[in-house]
């Protein structure tokens, strides 16, 4: 059975009535206005929506990067909304892998070292070279970020995110800064990781075409979830064009 599809898959994340208000100096911005959501073990979901719809905010809250202003969020029974900074740090360290739109590699470290930064503090990491092989960069391990193309940098970021064997992989616009050909290579790496490691994977995008690689597609608009689609047929990234 494919993960995330069957009724037996259990909810990894549960969010109820999540609100988030940003205090931007003199302006207050309500990014999430009461979101209810469940994510299931091993599934790959795409969060789709225009900019400002609250996708990133939701992802940050699920990943323990940020905390909700009100509402309830839990991961495997852990209350993330009430967690202290220390608990959130431990949660991220042990369970979560992140991939960011702008890769956010540390420019002064090589590809291998960027992965090692995470494996050094993880409980049961894979070898950095294995993680890099998994994203097809086994031959670029000693290159610095500035010596890699955008797609390669993003694949290093994916290797960095998966090297700890995370239970959850959260990707914020992983192809946003890439051309379509490179983007597809990156998505292939993500799908492969999701399949091989079984990590619950959430990918943010505003590109509707990408949605077809997901098991489920969650649509956001103005801080609300406005619909959830189940893909009956999951496409291979190689079949995408945009």
């Amino acid at each position: 059975m494919e993960p995330g599809r069957g009724a037996g898959a259990h909810a990894v994340f549960t969010a109820r009535g999540v609100r988030k208000v940003y205090d931007m100096g003199e302006v207050q911005v309500e990014a999430l206005r009461g979101v209810d959501l469940d994510l299931y073990s091993g599934e790959l979901v795409v969060l789709l929506g225009p900019s400002g719809s609250g996708k990133s905010t939701l992802l940050n809250i699920l990943g323990g990067l940020d905390s909700a202003t009100s509402g309830h969020v839990s991961y495997m029974g852990r209350d993330l909304a009430a967690a202290t900074d220390r608990q959130l740090t431990a949660y991220r360290r042990d369970f979560v892998g992140f991939v960011f739109q702008f890769y956010n590699l540390i420019p002064s470290l090589t590809a291998r070292e960027n992965v090692e930064v995470v494996t050094e503090i993880a409980r049961d990491p894979m070898k950095p070279q294995d993680a890099l092989n998994l994203v097809g960069l086994g031959d670029r391990m000693d290159h610095f970020p500035s010596q890699l193309s955008g797609g390669q940098q993003q694949r290093v970021a994916i290797a960095r995110a998966i090297a700890k064997r995370p239970a959850v992989l959260l990707c914020d616009e992983p192809t946003g800064a890439l051309d379509s050909t490179t983007g597809i290579v990156v998505l292939e790496a993500l799908v492969r990781v999701n399949r091989e490691l079984g990590a619950t994977t959430a990918v943010i995008t505003h590109n509707a075409d990408i949605a077809s690689i997901a098991h489920r597609v969650i649509h956001l608009r103005n801080g609300h979830i406005c619909g959830i689609d189940k893909n009956t047929e999951v496409k291979d990234p190689r079949d995408l064009r945009w």
Binding site: N60, L65, V96, F98, F102, I106, E120
Partner: protein, 786 residues
């Protein structure tokens, strides 16, 4: 966390210019501290070892003459451990091939060798007790004349000329500094210490079975004051001139003063350097953390704690500090050795225990690290504490507002660029203030460095050009009838003679007292003038006593007060004299009277102790040889030689110091200005690129950057003057002693030099920034993610 450690190294390499500038400033702090502290430790340890190994006495006393049998009674004074009685004599020295007058002090050596103040024989042996023509010469004097064992010289002791053979060359803990009494700096060519067998010296001075000087050591529980009091009472009938402890022993006192100066240097300079380094690190680290907020955020996203991130950046700071401290250690040790070596030329020790206590290194490192961490920890913590999601968003635009200046009428005419400059300074007032204070500190150090030179120069000018204008000062063996003036005047080459009388006294006012000498001067004297606080010559009042202002304040006396004078020679009477006026003097603690009044006070005829001479320069050789032939002349000091030796000393000591000082201050000035400018550029390159895109020329854009730099630099200079002067005043207070007072004099040259160095550092930084503006890649900068 090996990877993050690698990041530390690479980040450092990336910002190597800034890191180096900061490390240099820290190195400056560590170096000055290690130099001063190690020199101090070295001199102290060396002195203490020397004192204890060579049995330096605790109490000294001089008297006219006492029978040797008195020694037993001195030994009975409670608290006295060992007593050594001896004969001291001044002598005029005749040295072949050295026409100028030289003098010496001859110290007797007991047949069995001295118990106290033992000699360290550099070469040769002690004099044979049975021979009356053998002496041991002090090392610096021997060196100055290239004397070796076996060489000869002649000495006139008590009016009788003797041919002496040098049988040994030695050092003594009693004469670590061998300077002529009353002189500011030693002149080894014209003043020397000689040791002779007791029997021979007693015979030469008609002191058989008697002594005129003694030294003693105390038991552990002795009270100095008690012993001195009893000793004075015992010696009074024998012409005792007042016993004193080590604190008033000349060589010991010079050393103690030097230690005090070093101690101060070991505090003030490192505090400045470390303070500036802390500020620099604050600026640089704030910028670094801001520019790496995303990196910190990613690390946190992957589970690093705030603490991990703080430690990561602190490691970077500590590496910079340790680099600086390591450099400072090397530099400081080297400078310390150089300084100790310099001191060894004046302070004669038989050995040098060069010592850098590990504690000194540890303190330098610890204080440096502490200052740096304190400077940076707030920024680091602030950066590391941000929630990871917040850190990954670009920072919200900085808040600006209309500047206070713009509220003033006419401010509307300010150009947009000028407004940008003003608003930028006002937006971060603390940062602007720190930049100004940091640069001012560099300026202040330069002022302080120049101040030493100016003050010393002023002292010498005042003392030897305004106050003393004699060519030669002649001292007689003993008080002499005034008619000796005529025999001096009749000598060829002597144009003018002015007699003086010197009487050793103890001055008392209420419970305070001071041992010194009263100098009796002629009225309307030309060769020796007293100066008031404005350094204008003042006439000696017909009656009463005149004191050096420092002595008056030591005694707590003001003009009009009665001063009690205990005469320590002749009939040893105690009289009262009114304090008529005070005069300004930077050296010594002299008292003055008219010579007639002093004679009257002594109840003696017109006696003189010596005379100041004005000579015909061309006939100086003749004058010297005539003086040499006069048996009554104990010594003759040639002013030019004294001046020369003072300037030599000053040149070597202050130029070495000034060189280090300018170097280090340059480091600070450059470090502060460069870092501030570099960071201002980094923070605002996007803004500058936008302006360039909008059509501003490179010149106009540079103006915005450099205008800020120029305003801050210009503001720092006057502040630096004020701080420098204040530090100078601090030094002046610390260096005040009976021996000399440093005046707070700072020449315009010094201010000018400080300004030039600061401006040069600023200009250099300005050029680097202009170069960067010129090569600003507009497109790349604007595309770059903040």
């Amino acid at each position: 966390m090996e990877c993050l450690d690698r990041k530390v190294i690479r980040d450092l390499l990336h910002m190597r210019g800034q890191a180096l500038a900061i490390a240099l400033v820290i190195a400056g702090g560590a170096a000055t501290y290690i130099m001063s502290a190690s020199t101090l430790d070295t001199l102290r340890a060396t002195r203490d070892a020397y004192y204890s190994e060579y049995r330096f006495a605790d109490v000294f006393a001089q008297l006219t003459r006492a029978p040797a049998s008195l020694r037993g009674r001195i030994e009975e004074i409670p608290g006295v451990r060992q007593v050594e009685t001896r004969v001291l004599a001044s002598a005029r020295l005749d040295i072949a091939g050295f026409p100028e007058p030289a003098s010496g002090q001859i110290v007797s050596l007991p047949a069995a060798g001295p118990l106290l103040n033992r000699l360290f024989l550099r070469s040769g042996r002690l004099p044979d007790p049975l021979r009356d023509n053998e002496v041991v010469a002090g090392e610096p004097f021997a060196e100055a004349h290239n004397f070796a064992v076996g060489d000869r010289l002649a000495a006139v002791i008590h009016g009788r000329r003797r041919e002496l053979t040098i049988v040994g060359i030695a050092l003594s803990p009693e004469f670590i500094l061998q300077a002529q009494p009353g002189s500011m700096v030693p002149d080894f060519k014209t003043f020397g210490i000689l040791w002779m067998s007791q029997e021979a010296l007693e015979a030469a001075c008609n002191m058989e079975g008697a002594f005129n000087s003694l030294a003693l050591t105390l038991t552990r529980d002795a009270v100095l004051q008690d012993v001195v009091g009893r000793l004075d009472a015992l010696l009074a009938p024998y012409g005792g001139r007042g016993a004193h402890g080590r604190a008033e022993q000349m060589s010991h006192r010079f050393l103690s003063d030097e230690f005090r100066g070093l101690q101060q240097m070991a505090t003030i300079f490192p505090v400045i350097f470390y303070g500036v380094a802390a500020f620099l690190l604050n600026v640089v680290v704030t910028r670094l953390v801001a520019s790496q907020r995303e990196q910190a955020a990613v690390l946190k996203a992957f589970g690093y704690t705030t603490f991990d991130i703080v430690v990561h950046y602190l490691k970077l700071i500590v590496v910079v500090v340790l680099m600086g401290v390591a450099g400072g250690m090397a530099l400081g040790t080297w400078m310390g050795r150089a300084m100790s070596g310099l001191y060894m030329e004046y302070y004669r020790f038989p050995f040098l225990i060069y010592l850098v206590e590990p504690g000194v290194f540890a303190t330098a490192a610890l204080v440096g690290t502490l200052a740096a961490v304190l400077g940076a920890v707030y920024s680091v913590f602030k950066g590391a504490r941000l929630a990871p999601a917040v850190a990954m968003q670009p920072p919200s635009p900085p808040k600006y507002r209309r500047s206070v200046l713009e509220g003033f009428p006419g401010a509307r005419r300010l150009s947009q660029s000028a407004r940008m400059i003003v608003r930028n300074i006002e937006r971060r007032p603390l940062k602007a203030l720190f930049t100004v204070v940091g640069t001012a500190m560099a300026c202040a150090i330069l002022v302080l460095g120049g101040f030493f030179y100016d003050a010393f120069d002023h002292m010498v000018e005042t003392q030897f050009k305004l106050a003393q204008s004699d060519d030669v000062a002649v001292t007689f063996v003993e008080p002499t009838p005034r008619r000796a003036v005529y025999s001096l005047t009749s000598l060829p080459g002597i144009e003018y003679v002015e007699p003086f009388r010197t009487v050793p006294v103890r001055l008392r006012h209420h419970h305070r007292s001071q041992r010194t000498a009263i100098q009796g001067l002629v009225e309307n004297g030309r060769l020796r003038r007293l100066l008031n606080s404005d350094l204008a010559p003042v006439e000696l009042p017909a009656s009463g006593i005149v004191l050096t202002d420092y002595l008056a304040s030591t005694l707590g006396a003001a003009p009009g007060d009665m001063i009690t004078v205990d005469v320590l020679e002749g009939r040893r009477q105690t009289v009262e004299a009114p304090l008529a006026a005070t005069v300004k003097e930077y050296v010594g603690v002299s008292a003055y009277m008219r010579i007639g009044a002093l004679n009257a006070l002594m109840r003696e005829g017109p006696a003189i102790s010596g005379a100041f001479l004005q000579t015909d320069r061309d006939l100086n050789g003749l004058v010297y040889s005539e003086l040499r032939r006069m048996p009554r002349v104990a010594s003759a000091a040639v002013r030019e030689n004294v001046l020369q030796s003072i300037y030599d000393t000053m040149a070597r000591q202050t130029l070495t110091f000034a060189f280090f000082n300018t170097l280090l201050a340059g480091c600070i000035a450059f470090g502060v200005v460069y870092n501030s400018a570099r960071i201002a550029f980094l923070e605002r390159n996007r803004e500058l690129a936008s302006l360039r895109v909008l059509g501003l020329t490179r010149g106009e854009v540079s103006f915005i950057m450099l205008g800020e730099l120029a305003i801050l630099t210009l503001a720092s200079i006057p502040l630096g003057f004020v701080i420098g002067r204040w530090l100078g005043a601090l030094m002046v207070a610390g260096f005040q002693s009976d021996l000399y007072r440093i005046p707070l004099v700072i020449a315009p040259d010094t201010y000018a030099m400080a300004t030039i160095v600061v401006l040069a550092s600023a200009l250099f930084s300005g050029f680097i920034i202009m170069h960067k503006v010129r090569h600003l890649d507009m497109v790349a900068t604007l595309k770059m993610k903040e």
